[in-house]
Symmetry: C3
Subunit: 446 residues, 3 copies
């Protein structure tokens, strides 16, 4: 089930439980015992969304810890505040606007391009079987699951623009991203819009989620400019992360959450085939992450003579992003290779970005954008239904839209309220300047 | 399913799977395929308790991290030790005494008021379908789930009385709280006691869990007195938390665990209606937390000109506490409003407590007590079955009981072994004084 | 279901859902409604593996945090790098070699002793009910679940040999451990090999997982020798952990993961009896951990006059290890006692190891080896099918094999590339010497 849209896909989803019905007509037949009752299928798929959803929720903590660990201690409170704030706002605006914009069903405002405008309404309390379409899952679980993807997209941005962006402009960008930019482009594929019609394939969001966060981050990082002193005197000055255990914890959290991200995107658990597919997805997702981290471990040893932990962490994440567009069809070996290439990309891309003086504090652009593009292209190697043309079309269309939309928002914010703190504030740290609260008041040395 | 008691509620719970039976009488009917077999319902509800239970278990880590992050580094080892100790003791005493005191079934010692006295006995190994009441869930899963609620209640207390209480008196208080105080009052509602008969509504424990922890904390904080220097010279001296990423991590952990806390309190997953309700609960729980955090973000910006991360964290938690009394009936918009009011309460209540010189180190009283009261009252706005009278009655009865019982225990401990460390020990930090072990021996400055 | 092997055990597993078939023959019978359809059983057991598997995955983060918190800050980046590296390599080599070596089915290379050599192949995408053996679970989920046990075994080793071992020799040891040593001995029991035939009982791996990690760690710690200065002048010099909240977090993570570790080892969730057993396992696992921590709390208070947090953490873990060989048959009281003895063992064993100048940085040997042996023996107290003779036989056979195999690998590495950093590097810390990257560049004092 490489397709994620809610209502249009029901016909296919329906096929699975209904296949049991003819068998049941012959009721005495022993085969009756093997079928999955329709209501059980509904319960199982709904529960998949809930478990998958809480795992993807958990990724919000992962992003917060990863980013807090990779910035300098004088900017940690700010990074935490941004992550809390963006998540809260994403929840509110995806509810008010995003969800129905992304999944309009038959209610497109512009067919296949712009969805419907309405806040989310859940099914009634104590809904009975009669009142419910039993072929899919509860609306509440679907909303809960999809909301977390939207929030993850926003989380990607915050790391890249860290240590110099003001709080409120960032949060306002988040609102536009989660209310409009993310849902609109996601509707094109997962809402059954024109990219879906064009056979663009993206199982769990290498493009729809990760590259979108990546493009928004790239646009922001360019418009914002690098941190003071980062490229001083024509050389790259590395700013070391203040707390590597925290960054490692964040990576493990994200890795854990990704099982829900990719596994839940099967969107069905009411048949043997579906749950076996979810199992493949879990195993492949893990294999890609492992291979991505090992690729970065070996490459940094070979290239720099010393393994680089932050590259290893980002290598694992890049492996995860790379497998996300197609975690189902690869074998374990293919999944490992796809992940390893993702991890390798990070090792090569970080210095490349520095050459262009694009200052991405946590490596979000290599991880989410470059590995996202790679993963979207790699679909064609294992999924016979995918074509290179359609994949490139999807990547370019989404990229163009997000770059333009993000740039408009970033520039509007720059012109109106400014997006960057003053030089003095940046030097002293955003925590004291914008928040008046240190993350580690007793630890840091003068 | 707003009712949590184990055995008395079985009649209602039974209704759901049994509804399938008449249909099944006409066995050739195609409708057979849609029904949930009774054993499947038992498995699904049991699994709900296990997943919900491990999520609520995880909240123990959340409390530990939140509190360790918000105390000063000289008291961190102590705070961790308290959290480990209280959890272990809660497990032992809820098993030995609490569970059957809370859920006496037909075995009340004093009908509706005092439950049964007996350690918990689980069902036999390899229990067959015949030996089991298939209309609910396994005893083991129920015990596991309920135990975690009891432990959470104790965790609430430890934050408020931090940085000056001695270890062992605190742990002894925990024993009484988890063996007696919590289970007795919980039996009044969730064990089918007199508050349940009086139509008091508390779905997952805004009053039964959170306000109980809050009242015990308030009583303890008053009897213990404020930390040295906190209100010196008539001014409030803020003591900054030593590790805000840890506090943020703790908040995310608690937020994650809350999906199990509220979702598992549906107490059934064997029907379409139940799982759809659980989905609503997940979505509403998340919405309330998000709105609570955003409310605190905006209010602290407006009131103090700078957003306050610790208020934002507590705002999210207050939103969670507020929605806990009724996470099912609100719409997403109503849940957001209920959570936002909870978050706002924190912003206003923290200075208010300071005015009364009640020193609550982590904000446990605003979060768990005030937001718990608010959430219990707010039930009447969305649940037509609730009345303001019954809600206030429940709040007052539980409050009165917990204040009196806690005060007796705190005073008894104060008189016998003392509850507060010496001034010198408090100044030097509890870690060295009581434990001889620093949490961060290499970090802290002189 | 105390037996874990994949294919040979299918006959027994089959019994459960098939028991429903005769009832179904009489199709009009109302009892039809209570049976679990075979496909539903397959889905539920598969999902148990996925949920159990992601919980055990999460233990990798637990080990990383525990160890990072217990080493000195100058060695933290190294400890994190080792944990990331070992996990990635374990995933690759368990896929390439380990899984089929452990679970050869009918394809033993040497019957009952050496399994099959082949990389893991998952079931096809979209596998239909017809193509699948519906009596168990998906291969993908089984592989995913078992992989995490293999990785956990490797994680155990890294803590004991911390702060002086070189990165690459350690990682090479990990490869041999996860590709060969762990799978070979695991096949003896869980693959249906000679230890299984001999009635050796180990439900979830007190011996098969924990003692294996423990023996490998012990062998490594002895061959490597203690850290510089640890036993200087005939006295034991304690080196304090640099970050106790991190160590506590790691313990909570491991505790959480253990529900998947032990609960998932039921290997079936498609019947009332199985899910009731899983519930017992959850409750008992938790009780043992709680009792282990409380035992260490009380004992350290009595023996040293001050509770010792690191002992309490290790006490909880030892309780978990001890209950792992038989988490199903004990009552809650018995589980608590088994865990308490485990926790007590830690308190007594840590000084004992020091007496032998075996320097185990994090206490991995008492926790995983000693408590693992204790737990394996304790099976006979509650499981009537177990005999002391068979238990001791299993412990000794596995211990002998792992010591010999590990010693060969450690010595080979020592002779060829060296396993220990230079004295200067050890004094300066492994982070700067081997990685050039500090974990907390802004915190540590000169």
């Amino acid at each position: 089930m490489s397709n994620k849209f809610k209502r249009a896909a029901l016909a296919t989803l329906l096929a699975t439980p209904m296949a049991a019905v003819p068998t049941l007509g012959a009721a005495q037949d022993i085969e009756v015992a093997t079928a999955v009752p329709t209501e059980v299928g509904y319960i199982l798929t709904t529960f998949l969304f809930l478990v998958g959803g809480f795992l993807v929720f958990w990724m919000a903590a992962g992003f917060a810890m990863l980013e807090a660990g990779l910035v300098r201690s004088k900017n940690v409170t700010m990074q935490l505040t941004k992550n809390m704030g963006l998540f809260g706002l994403a929840c509110i605006f995806y509810y008010l606007i995003g969800f129905n914009l992304m999944y309009p069903g038959d209610g497109w405002t512009v067919a296949g391009v712009i969805g419907a405008f309405a806040p989310t309404v859940l099914e009634p309390v104590g809904v009975g079987a009669d009142a419910t379409d039993l072929s899919y899952a509860s609306v509440g679980s679907d909303f809960f699951f999809q909301l977390m993807f939207c929030a993850a997209t926003a989380s990607i941005v915050s790391g890249a623009v860290a240590e110099r962006i003001k709080l409120w402009p960032f949060l306002i960008f988040t609102v536009v991203l989660t209310a409009v930019i993310y849902p609109v482009q996601a509707s094109w594929k997962w809402g059954g819009g024109f990219l879906d019609v064009a056979n663009f394939q993206d199982f769990a969001g290498s493009t729809v989620v990760h590259s979108v966060g990546g493009w928004a981050a790239l646009t922001g990082a360019i418009i914002l400019g690098p941190r003071l002193g980062k490229y001083k005197g024509g050389r790259v000055h590395p700013f070391m992360g203040s707390n590597l255990p925290l960054a490692t914890l964040g990576t493990f959290i994200l890795w854990l959450g990704w099982f829900g991200f990719n596994g839940g995107s099967q969107l069905a658990m009411g048949s043997v085939g579906d749950v076996a597919d979810i199992s493949r997805i879990f195993a492949n997702t893990n294999a890609a992450a492992a291979a991505g981290s090992v690729a970065a471990l070996i490459l940094t040893q070979l290239m720099f003579k010393k393994p680089d932990l932050t590259m290893i962490l980002n290598g694992a994440l890049a492996g995860l992003v790379a497998i996300t567009a197609e975690p189902l069809t690869p074998s374990l070996g293919q999944a490992s290779l796809i992940g390893a290439v993702g991890g390798a990309l990070v090792v090569f891309a970080v210095p490349m970005l520095d050459r262009f003086k694009i200052d991405d504090v946590v490596g979000a652009i290599p991880v989410h954008l470059f590995a996202g593009i790679w993963g979207t292209i790699a679909v064609v190697f294992t999924n016979k239904g995918a074509t290179l043309g359609a994949q490139l079309y999807g990547i370019l269309v989404v990229g163009f839209f997000v770059i333009v939309a993000s740039a408009i928002v970033w520039f509007a914010l720059k012109v109106t309220m400014g997006i960057r703190v003053s030089e003095e504030e940046e030097v002293n740290g955003l925590d004291m300047a914008e928040l008046g609260m240190e993350a580690y008041p007793e630890f840091t040395i003068g």
